[in-house]
């Protein structure tokens, strides 16, 4: 991970400001927030904390980016989005930040990242995961991205998953 000092300093900053109480809140909510009208009060009772303190800490973690949002995560398959393609793009370096933002804003793109090329084998530097109800649906959406990128794109591929070899949730230790 060396070579990306910005990410490293963010991580170091975060680990410095995350204390034991924050970690207890994280561990208690990893599986989800209590489904009650006042979930933070329930969490506070469970952890022996004041409700206000739990609210302040969760709000602070959201503000500094440790929590992206308090939201539902849908099951793609159950909603009929059974095909996903990892679309990868060779985008001119000068335009990648602006174009990446535009691709990431498309409602059918779930993850969108700038990643390093590995030439000559791997010329692609923009990754966008595309979800669809079938492969034609995914291909139509990929065409939409190609149109958006226009002349700033020198090539692309779509990698479909053939098999899930392993899938475990990310877990933070207490």
């Amino acid at each position: 991970m060396t070579g990306y000092p910005q990410a490293l300093s963010t991580a170091q900053h975060a680990s410095r400001i995350l204390d034991d109480t924050d970690r207890r809140i994280i561990v208690a909510t990893q599986a989800g927030l209590p489904l009650v009208a006042e979930p933070y009060a329930a969490l506070a009772r469970q952890l022996g904390l004041e409700t206000d303190e739990v609210l302040q800490r969760v709000a602070a973690m959201q503000e500094n980016g440790m929590i992206r949002r308090i939201a539902a995560v849908p099951n793609h398959y159950a909603l009929g989005y059974t095909v996903n393609g990892m679309s990868v793009w060779n985008v001119t370096d000068d335009h990648i930040s602006e174009l990446g933002r535009q691709v990431g804003a498309l409602d059918y793109v779930s993850h969108c990242y700038h990643r390093p090329r590995h030439l000559p084998l791997w010329p692609y530097n923009l990754f966008a995961m595309v979800h669809g109800r079938n492969s034609q649906d995914v291909e139509a959406k990929v065409t939409g991205i190609a149109t958006l990128l226009g002349d700033h794109c020198r090539g692309h591929e779509v990698l479909y998953s053939k098999r899930i070899l392993k899938k475990t949730g990310l877990r933070i230790k207490g």
Partner: protein, 147 residues
């Protein structure tokens, strides 16, 4: 799943405010009582329409590190290499993909400096080169699936 469930799935993907009664506003807008809303959310979780409801944590911003890695694995050794890669607890996801680079996995470590060591161990034990593709910039995470 009816149209109210669909509205709930769409609305809850956007995120709720951090406040004492975060469900009240959504319930009013959907014309439900808070209890009706909560029991529908519970049923959507039980039916696996939703995988989770709660804080979406960002591992990197919590001091950990994630990296996407790819390998070109010979077909005749694919199963053997899969077993070796999956045996690493730091490998969170692993997918077979249709490409010359035919194995794609995510390495998650609690500290950023551990990722390089895991990659070297995977190269040693499998004999395959690991193409490390850590993110340099993130544009969006999350998906609004319209239902």
């Amino acid at each position: 799943m009816d149209s109210i469930d669909a509205s709930i799935v769409n609305r809850l993907q956007e995120g709720l405010p951090v406040c004492p009664r975060p469900f009240d506003d959504v319930a009013v807008r959907l014309g439900l009582s808070v209890n009706e809303l909560l029991s529908r959310v519970q049923r959507l979780l039980d039916d696996k329409v939703l995988t989770r409801f709660g804080p979406m944590f960002n591992a990197e911003n919590m001091g950990g590190a994630l990296s996407l890695c790819a390998m070109q694995v010979p077909a005749n050794r694919y199963e053997q290499v899969t077993a070796k890669v999956n045996a690493f607890p730091e490998v969170a996801h692993n997918y077979e993909r249709d490409h010359l680079l035919n194995m794609w996995f995510v390495i998650a470590t609690e500290h950023p400096e551990q990722a390089g060591a895991v990659i070297r161990q995977i190269e040693q034990t499998t004999g395959c080169q690991v193409y490390d593709m850590p993110k340099q910039e993130e544009f969006y995470i999350g998906l609004k699936l319209a239902v």
